[in-house]
């Protein structure tokens, strides 16, 4: 593999949601992200998968510069994204862009498509003609030029999302964060958007950090997948390997929960793993391994110590007391 384009080291993000006590007030923290270390390689699609409260979106927002980490670092091509105290410099903003989940709110409904696309163009390409740059962007994403002066509410959900992708690409970024870009779309429309994203990745040599809860989708497009549960990463592996040999009990539970439409897929689901229990609130993460309230294989050690991430076999990492490295 090529060298990493993005490195997260022991990344933590706590949000204070309240205080306890009256005299000795202690903050109540939600550990949205709690010690995550990941590497993204140039040109890959890295799938970050998790359920609500897993912290996957918080990671996306930190990489995009919307939140500052509580501790830990994120390096982009060797540069610390949060060096110094102030805002992120414009040349880094240019390199890292984000596409949001909700096509309804990610475009300004009171401004035309051209005006929406002009925002990044004016900031990052002040010397270029805005209209011709807008036309080139529309062509890049296969939208007709007649859309320029339309308003977002005249477009379908899928088309809006495609405009949002075009806007992210306006700055010629190298890393694009995709925060559930298709989960609000109907499945018959999703394919078009995903295929567009894949084509753009090849043509423009983009790296994707793909945030999603849809493992079936990741099976088809991700080069590597990481699973998050309550602010921590449970398992990281290459796409195909991940689905053939899921190691962490939570990964197995997730896979067995997916509603599938063929027997062939049914065979891939870990049959013994019956989903059970509720996801604990991120305010009250259980001590030890955070999955110990739902894990069917739970034993004493799980209640006391949080397991370490180990490399089980080449490029396949997991964090579970049951699992031992192969050699």
């Amino acid at each position: 593999m090529t060298e990493p384009i993005l490195i997260m080291r022991d990344l933590k993000k706590y949000f204070t949601v309240g205080h306890t006590g009256v005299i000795r007030r202690k903050p109540i923290d939600v550990k949205a992200v709690d010690g995550v270390s990941l590497e993204l390689y140039a040109g890959e699609t890295f799938g970050l998968v998790g359920e609500s409260g897993s912290g996957k979106s918080t990671i996306a927002y930190m990489v995009a510069g919307m939140h500052r980490p509580t501790s830990g670092t994120i390096e982009f091509r060797g540069r610390d994204l949060f060096e110094g105290g102030g805002g992120r410099p414009l040349d880094l903003k240019k390199e890292i862009q984000i596409v949001f989940q909700d096509p309804g709110s990610s475009l300004n409904a009171r401004r035309t498509i051209a005006q929406n696309l002009a925002v990044p163009l004016r900031i990052h390409k002040p010397d270029e003609d805005v209209i011709s740059a807008t036309l080139r962007l529309l062509e890049l994403v296969d939208l007709p030029p007649s859309y320029m002066y339309r308003y977002p509410n005249m477009l379908s959900g899928g088309e809006k999302q495609i405009v949002a992708i075009a806007r992210a690409l306006a700055t010629d970024p190298s890393l694009v964060i995709l925060d559930e870009p298709t989960s609000a779309l109907d499945v018959s429309v999703q394919g078009k958007v995903i295929n567009l994203l894949m084509r753009l990745q090849r043509e423009l040599n983009l790296t994707y950090l793909f945030i999603t809860h849809d493992l079936s989708l990741m099976r088809n497009i991700a080069s590597r997948v990481a699973i998050m549960y309550l602010g921590k990463v449970c398992e990281v592996a290459g796409g195909a390997e991940f689905f053939q040999r899921p190691e962490h009990p939570y990964t197995q539970m997730l896979l067995s929960s997916i509603p599938v439409i063929s027997d062939e897929e049914e065979a891939l689901k870990p049959a013994k793993m019956v989903p059970r229990g509720e996801i604990p609130s991120p305010v009250n993460v259980p001590p030890g391994c955070s999955f110990n309230t739902r894990c069917p294989y739970v034993f004493e050690q799980c209640m006391q110590a949080d397991p370490q991430m180990i490399e089980l076999h080449s490029q396949h990492f997991a964090r579970c007391h049951l699992l031992k490295a192969e050699n």
């Binding site: 510069g65 709110s105 009171r110 007649s146 002066y149 806007r167």
Partner: protein, 309 residues
């Protein structure tokens, strides 16, 4: 043409004229759509028609009013207190002035008052609301919103009365007084919209891409506030006209012999019920213009609601 121009036509082949045409067509299409929706509501059409009529009356008053000289100091006791007739459609008042002419001129004062007050109030209120909303939970929010609370605690009519009685009682001071108490409503309206919008993804997206704060506030958020602001402005015109008339009624607005609608109603009350037309027609004129603005405002609100849905 806009429909046929599909992706078969490559964007790079478009000439400047093509783009200009596209823009014209889209604009026409958007306006056409808005007009279609607006025109589907008969009440808002009536409202808009009334407003246009009244505005024309006010602008062209010297040419429309049958007796323009009756607006200046004028007496004609021979024709005093005439009931409505073909010469004086609305009758004449206690000193023989044509009421129709005075009502037409009265609209000038009412509309001037409404427009001036809104012209002072809206920009101030909107900018403060945008700033406070965008910096929610920070000091500009606290400073601005607590100030609006203080101003909102004062009833507009009372403040207007106070100011008008301290200063000279005239239309200008009345407008200042009303403006002082009116801007917080716009601040509040825009504040509530802004606090909702600042977390929308399109705002975040411009932040991530590096847009300046003033760009986000004025180019991204403000356009989303325009429709509720217009709606409120239309409804407020009616209110401001009523307050102006009320001030004139108690003698603190338009001063006689100038023909304020409220002043005319007030002076006519002495001759009720026998010479009812002296105050009834100016009162009716107030009702018509206020109703017009309210119908228009409701129509605009429905129009904008349908657009968002």
């Amino acid at each position: 043409m806009g429909v046929e121009m599909t992706s078969a036509v490559q964007a790079t082949q478009l000439t400047a004229e093509d783009i200009a045409r596209l823009r014209r067509e889209s604009r026409r299409e958007n306006w056409g759509r808005a007009w279609y929706k607006f025109s589907r509501n008969p009440l808002s059409l009536i409202g808009a028609g009334t407003i246009i009529f009244v505005v024309c009356l006010a602008i062209f008053a010297p040419w429309i009013a049958p007796y323009p000289e009756h607006v200046k100091p004028f007496t004609d006791f021979a024709n005093a207190s005439q009931p409505p007739s073909s010469q004086h459609w609305f009758g004449t008042d206690e000193i023989g002035r044509d009421i129709l002419s005075r009502v037409i001129y009265g609209y000038r004062f009412s509309l001037t008052m409404g427009v001036t007050v809104l012209a002072i109030v809206v920009p101030i209120g909107v900018v403060l609301g945008l700033v406070a909303g965008y910096f929610q939970h920070r000091w500009p929010d606290t400073l601005i919103m607590r100030t609006t609370d203080i101003f909102l605690a004062v009833p507009p009519l009372i403040l207007a009365l106070a100011i008008a009685s301290i200063l000279e009682p005239n239309l200008f001071n009345a407008m200042i007084a009303v403006s002082l108490t009116w801007w917080p409503w716009y601040t509040r309206l825009v504040y509530s919209i802004t606090t909702g919008l600042r977390n929308e993804f399109f705002v975040t997206a411009s932040q991530v891409t590096g847009a300046s704060t003033s760009h986000i506030i004025f180019r991204e958020i403000l356009p989303n506030c325009v429709s509720p602001i217009f709606t409120k402005m239309s409804l407020d015109m009616g209110w401001v006209i009523i307050i102006g008339a009320s001030l004139s009624f108690v003698g603190l607005g338009v001063q006689p012999p100038k023909p304020g609608l409220g002043t005319m109603v007030a002076s006519g009350t002495r001759y009720l019920p026998d010479d009812w037309w002296i105050s009834a027609f100016p009162a009716l004129a107030i009702v018509v213009v206020v109703l017009g603005f309210n119908l228009l405002g409701d129509g605009l609100r429905d129009l904008f609601a349908a657009e968002d849905g």
